[in-house]
């Protein structure tokens, strides 16, 4: 799964650590989500989308491959 978290973070001038603190996870979790190495729970995906003032659909791009 591809994500646009990095793009949205840059838009709001947030570091991985800032976002991690806001949604209550470790920085590495944000890093792995951005790299597509970890699929977050629906709750975490919703919280990230809320913090980045967007929707889950906008943030996560489902790639069948």
């Amino acid at each position: 799964m591809k994500t646009r978290i990095k793009e949205f973070r840059a838009r709001y001038d947030l570091t991985q650590e800032d976002l991690a603190r806001k949604v209550g996870v470790r920085r590495e979790t944000i890093l792995f989500i951005e790299k597509g190495k970890y699929n977050p729970s629906l709750k975490l995906a919703y919280e990230i989308a809320k913090e980045l003032k967007t929707t889950i659909d906008e943030l996560f791009i489902f790639d069948k491959d």
Partner: protein, 134 residues
Amino acid sequence: MKDKIGIAVGIGIAALVIATILFYVLNAGDLELNEIFPIIIVIILVVSTCYILWDRIKNIKKGLPAQDERLKITNYKACYYGFIASIWSAVGAPLLSGILFDFELSGHHVTAVVVLFGGLAFMISYIYLAWKGD
């Protein structure tokens, strides 16, 4: 608060294990190779535990959680690998010991092998998954 209690308990257990090893090594006299090997595994487990505790303390100091949903999943996976390693070591250790060294392992030896290999498999898989991702 729960995280801090967990870390304090972890530090206490690690300190007790280190003290036990030191006490054993200082009083055991000349150690043979088969006695050194389990001590090395225990030291690896204690050092890995200290690393995990240090990592959690570092996160708490930064205002981040010690454990989150990804680490919980990592923990479950590492527990699974540790469990599988324990089962296979319980089966394999007496068998290999008999075939390779013509030595029959006693019950407490097998228990020690199960605990040490299970713990080692847990630690290796936990640290690997925590670093590299799932």
